[in-house]
Amino acid sequence: MDFERFFVATTGSGPYPYQRDLAMSATLPALLHAPTGSGKTAAVLCAWLWRATQAATSVRATTPRRLVYCLPMRSLVEQTADVADTLVAKLREIAPETPVVRVFRLLGGEVDDAFDEHPDELAILVGTQDLLLSRALNRGYAMSRYLWPVHFGLLHSDALWVFDETQLMGPGLSTSAQLEAFRRDPRTPPARPSHSLWMSATLDDGRLRTVDLATADLPSLRAEVSGCEPLEKRWRATKRLQRAESPARDTKSLADEIARVHVRGHRTLVVVNRVARAQALVVALGKVLCDVPIAVLHSRFRRDDRERISREAFANNWPGVLVATQVVEAGVDVSARVLFTELAPWSSLVQRFGRCNRSGEHTDGADVRWIDLPSDDAAPYVATDLDAARVRLDGLADVGIARLAALDVERSRPVVPVIRRKDLLDLFDTTPDLTGLDVDVGRFIRDAEGRDVVVAWREFGEAGAPAERERPPTDVETCRVPVDALGAFLKKAGASGFVWRGLRSQWGEVRTNDARSLTPGSLVLLPASAGGYDRTVGWTGDPKHGPVETRPQESRVGADGDSDDPRSESRSYVSLARHAADVAEEMRTLRDRIGGDQPWEVLERAARWHDIGKAHFVFQDTMQRSRPEGTPGPGDGPWAKSPGPMQRHRRASVSPQAVGDAPAGQDAPDVDRKRCHFRHELASALAWLAHGGDDLGAYLVAAHHGKVRMSLRSRPGETVPGASASRSEVTYALGVADGDPLPACDLGDGERSEAVDLPLAHLMLGGDDGSASWTRRTAALVEEHGPFRLAYWEALVRIADWRGSARHDESAARKVPS
């Protein structure tokens, strides 16, 4: 199928020339300049779909499997994902034989992360910059920390990153540029080709010229207007500009002016810079406009309320006054007869003007009035940006696209902070911080002002706190609130909030003083009785507005406690030999489907050996003990999987009876704690090394649950296994002691291991004899392969393990796709 037909069949109309160029060019551009309304979403989605499924084999082979569509706002994610869904469905209709293309949404409160199971399939990931960039920095928000490296691996290799509405990305744009630069750096290449494409109506590439991308080749493609009727009409639409008559900060007189200028039967849009001003203005308008619908829209609404208001106020021919904040600057297809806007940075103003007489429908022109702001009231922007914009506005009488295009574009600079290569290398290490503190990469993702937490209101009943089993909410019932505002609200309301601690699957109390230290994106439950929210004006932070009508909707996102990988668990007994063979075979399947130049031999061998540490007596003993009473034993071992949850590990030589007899309420005997941190994957890696395996394989084996990676360290509370004083000098970590025996094992397909004593000591500390410590080995691996490739290979081993584990799991919810 040629692209023309493909485009018509999927979108219902023919492509503009630039849309065709994007799909047909030999290589994709890095920048796409396309004016608002020129169909760039469809352009990108169709270009990738066509290149990945319809184009010549050579093009298909070099097209990344994952399209990662990164957007600055949640509402844009929903719209874009809907478009993607439609296009993919159409594609299946017209070409049923094309490979499956899945669409995944990653947006606050509801994260569909299952893309990480299908590195070998085509997928479109649409997400917010918070969720996607945090994952690209190996510190993914709203996910298990043990999966960070998997997402990091899959998002840097075999990925086409598309950044849309880039003018709203803040420092996230600099981060996206630096990440592209790192991937282009021969010292840190991705495992498979990746590419970045930045799109905007207003983008000048100065913001992308970060220190490491300063001189890189960034080819661009510009959407031409001429010859394309709808675009030309937009291009020529008239938008008369004048300064608003009312003085700055006089809400009442502004409301009067709006009422005066509003044209009956048409929409008026008022864009202000801050939520509080929008809310105040709506109140004032309500007093002067009696028979005209009034609505307010900003970022501080629950999704259901925002959708309700959007549906109403964005409807064609809605004749009311909509007061909004920057949320209408991007991606919202709404047009007004009259536009009021507060002074804002030039790029924001350009976006706002685009919401007036958008497609030239008011042939006699439309009106724009701008509201001046004093320099001390510039927040959330900086005064100098506003000053510059004011100078430009003063000389303009019309702000139609054609007029604006004639203006000089100022050359801009990358937004700071800018992430550096050494930071990325540091972030590759995800060793859990024993103190529970996590790195906040937020400053590289968006502006500090945008640091929000996600709140929802629930009825707590008499306890005054969420029930232990209270599940976290979905984004339907959540609202974004600035971290600082939450603290102030809790103080005013005299209430406590409760933050979701995903690792422990618990709610933790948040008081006024704790609020500031919440990490952005934290999920906080508030008592409905505390108020602070109104369904028509959104978050106010005023306890008077309440009690809040609740609409509990429990998240289907599971808990991600510090437990084992749920996906590598099984529901039946599987022997180590069987599992080793299964996972090795899954790796061969991945090799056949992904192909290319990867260290497949090591990968397959690591897949086969990854669980050999389970032959360790601690693990086998725990498995025996975990057997529900009365169920038949599995017979000969060693076993890799057993049905049901595993109990905690402990030292094997203490009989369960003796431990069970410890008086309630007292500490269990010391011996019990000694191996509770047992990690079989460390034993596996030691066995691998003892059999002469290389460092890369050892790393991949060790990392297969995301818990043993760059460094080896014992956990607090871990003491010498073996208890006897004579062994007090023995080295131990994660439940494994130096010299622990591991029996000979059958690893399937005729491969066997020897019995070995696990050589931990030198691996922990290094030796004076020059033997290399784990840290030295892993540091060398990162230097040799770079973080992107290591993480990708790490992900492949884990995915092969998940797939191998699911084979014997007849009732498993997650099915391996055929």
Binding site: L427, S711, D768
Partner: protein, 716 residues
């Protein structure tokens, strides 16, 4: 591999430590990637392909200095009024060794132009400039920037090791570094430079030192004494090579990204092994030290030879944890060392306090060595207690001086505990906690912000604090129930709470132990007369003691560890150290659920003072109506007579009471002298202690036996 000892390096002073790190870093980065280094004792050993000669030649001819620039500082060489000779010389030179330096200077100047800076930036502009620099300096210049400045969303912060963003008072490290580099690379004759280098590395005799060149905080020159580092031997006489290598070493103290951006930023330093100061644990330390000390940095002497990536991992992470959080203070750090909350590859830490000098600059004073060794006692500081102590420290800031002293005493005791110093550091800590609670109780304002000491687990503490002395046993008995309510105004309601309104039961005042114990006994007497408070803790305790012989098994709710007659006798005779006894009582009263198993009554064939026997026999003898239980036989007026020191009057009351019970005491009042009035009062105070039924029987027996021994005993 050749092993060479850098005799110019040493754990102390800090300058010599940093020099060691600097040499190692440069060799590993520029000469031999496989180089390793270790501390053997106090000797720093470098293993690489370079022998001593080759090492000198490498530094003299090949070494490319790390770009160290601080254009945000006045005096950095970037601004009009600065000394610009060295920076000018570097920019003008074509020496390939300085290419990286020149690139960094160019990038810094470009950043200044971009922001339109014409001088040193001030206020908000400085933050913006620093962000711009971090966004645009070459990669190899970031190590210095990150070591000198930590950028967060809020204002920039300055790791103390490099002063305030790379200067220390008026001394700008970067300009000095450039001057020293120009001196050793260009100005000095090659041979002189080599000799200086030899001196810096191997401690050969110094030649041609730069006179009157400041070294800054890395060397406490004023202290004058310890001259371990050969390169830094006298005040104001600095070997330029030693200075250069010291700065190169300081760059290793840039925290990793993980460390810099973790959430706890407000309360901890974002640089490795650096914590808030604790003005305790070294000679001459006191409160004023804390005020003048900016921070502490604990530098590690590691075991086994390490490669640079391994050392970077150790330093970059700089992890020291106590329980589940990062160490924040010197005390925390000591606890981390004692509970193995640090990398186990470290043998020892040198503790440096950055203390103010001349009101402007700081010096890094070495204030102790800490061997990494697990000390189970350190685990007595549980998370709960730790939290309380932390609040105490914070409250001490604007509290009466006595609270500050109490808080420091607690810190000093914890440091001793972690160092394994002193005969019984755990007991000292317990006592310090008891004193702290006493001070808080005495300052009503403090009670708002500080709760009472949380209950401490008896079974964790007693084995570690138990002392074989009468004072300890007596205190244990008193503390084992309820005495805490008499000591400090708090009551137990599922937890300890400060008492809102005085109910008269907290009778302890300033004054002697005896006077206070008498108050306890008298208060109890008043309650008994009123028939009030049948369950007063003291009486509960006494009753329990009486029953103790009949108790079997363990019941945590029943307190009462009776004292032996011998210990009580020692108390009455004034053979105990009352102050020590009282401090034990305060400390031990903090333990929860006191007695597990009553000690068997000791054989009491000891010589108890007869008046004590009589008083106790009378006071504790169960009343006839209620043999064991709700009350004792009271002798109205007995306590007040004892308290007043009136021995004769007390004795006559007692004997009358005994006779009324059908016991004819051995002698009449005239036969006994009570000794001085102090002994009489002590007998009264002794009534506060719990005694067992067996002991009472012993006392009664004594009284009766005395009667039976009379030649013609007639019982009426």
């Amino acid at each position: 591999m050749t092993s060479i000892e850098l005799r110019g390096a040493a754990p102390e002073p800090l300058a010599s430590y940093l020099l060691a790190l600097g040499v190692f870093r440069i060799v590993a980065e520029q000469a031999d990637r496989d180089a390793r280094a270790s501390w053997r004792g106090d000797a720093f050993v470098l293993e690489s392909r370079l022998d001593e000669d080759a090492l000198v030649t490498f530094f003299a001819d090949e070494y490319g200095p790390s770009p160290v620039v601080a254009p945000w500082n006045g005096g950095s060489g970037f601004h009009a009024k600065d000394n610009r000779e060295a920076i000018g010389a570097i920019e003008a030179s074509a020496d390939p060794r300085l290419e990286g330096y020149r690139r960094a200077i160019r990038a810094a100047r470009t950043a200044m132009q971009r922001l339109g800076l014409e001088g040193k930036p001030a206020g908000e502009g400085k933050h913006g400039f620093l962000e711009e620099l971090r966004a645009s300096l070459p990669d190899d210049a970031l190590a210095w920037l990150d070591a000198a400045v930590v950028l967060t969303s809020e204002s920039p912060r300055y790791p103390p090791l490099l002063g305030t963003g790379g200067n220390d008072g008026r001394l700008d490290f970067t300009n000095n570094q450039m001057q020293r580099l120009v001196a050793v690379l260009f100005e000095r004759p090659r041979e002189t430079s080599r000799r200086l280098l030899q001196a810096a590395l191997f401690g050969a005799v110094d030649v041609g030192l730069d006179r009157d060149v400041a070294i800054g905080q890395f060397h406490p020159a004023a202290a004058g004494g310890a001259n371990q580092g050969e390169g830094f031997s006298r005040n104001s006489l600095v070997n330029p090579w030693a200075f250069v290598l010291m700065i190169e070493g300081a760059l290793l103290f840039a925290g990793t990204a993980t460390r810099r951006w973790e959430g706890d930023a407000s309360r901890a330093f974002a640089v490795p092994f650096t914590v808030w100061p604790t003005g305790a644990g070294y000679g001459s330390s006191d409160a004023s030290d804390e005020g003048k000390t900016r921070c502490e940095t604990w530098v590690p002497l590691w075991l086994h030879s390490r490669t640079l990536p391994e050392l970077r991992a150790l330093l970059g992470e700089g992890r020291a944890t106590v329980g589940e959080r990062n160490a924040r203070t010197g005390v925390d750090f000591a606890r981390a060392v004692a509970t193995l909350g640090i990398d186990r590859g470290v043998r020892e830490f040198v503790r440096y306090a950055f203390q103010e000098r001349n009101g402007l600059a700081y010096i890094a004073n070495p204030v102790g060595r800490w061997r990494v060794r697990r000390r189970p006692d350190a685990e007595l500081v549980t998370a709960e207690l730790d939290d309380w102590i932390d609040r105490l420290r914070r409250a001490a800031g604007d509290a009466p001086a006595s609270i500050g002293r109490a808080a420091r005493a607690v810190d000093a005791a914890i440091l001793d505990l972690c160092a394994g110093a002193g005969p019984s550091p755990a007991l000292d800590l317990l006592i310090a906690l008891g004193q702290a609670e006493r001070r808080i109780a005495a300052a009503p304002r403090m009670r708002e912000s500080l709760r009472p000491v949380p209950p401490l687990a008896w079974n964790h503490w007693i084995p570690r604090v138990r002392e074989h002395s009468p004072e300890f046993r007596l205190a244990e008995a008193l503390a084992s129930a309820g005495i805490r309510e008499a000591l400090v105004p708090l009551r137990w309601q599922e937890w300890w709470h400060w008492l809102e309104q005085d109910d008269g039961r907290t009778v302890w005042r300033a004054g002697s132990l005896v006077a206070n114990l008498l108050r306890v006994v008298q208060r109890d007497e008043v309650d008994a007369e009123r028939g009030a408070l049948p369950d007063s803790p003291i009486r509960r305790l006494h009753r329990a003691a009486l029953e103790s012989g009949e108790r079997t098994g363990f019941d945590p709710r029943v307190p009462g560890d009776p004292v032996s007659v011998a210990d009580l006798a020692a108390f009455v005779r004034g053979e105990c150290d009352d102050r020590r006894l009282e401090s034990f009582v305060r400390g031990l009263s903090l333990l929860r659920s006191a007695s597990l198993v009553p000690r068997a009554a000791q054989p009491d064939d000891v010589l108890a003072p007869f008046p004590l026997a009589v008083a106790l026999a009378v006071h504790r003898m169960p009343s006839r109506e209620d043999a064991v239980g709700s009350g004792f036989l009271r002798v109205p007026g007995l306590i007040s007579r004892l308290a007043a020191g009136q021995g004769g009057a007390a004795m006559s009351l007692a004997t009358r009471r005994l006779r009324a019970s059908g016991i004819d005491p051995a002698t009449g009042t005239r036969d006994f002298a009570f000794g001085g009035s102090e002994v009489v009062r002590r007998v009264g105070a002794a009534l506060a202690f719990p005694v067992s039924r067996q002991s009472i029987d012993v006392f009664l027996g004594k009284v009766i036996r005395a009667r039976e021994e009379r030649p013609e005993g007639v019982v009426p």
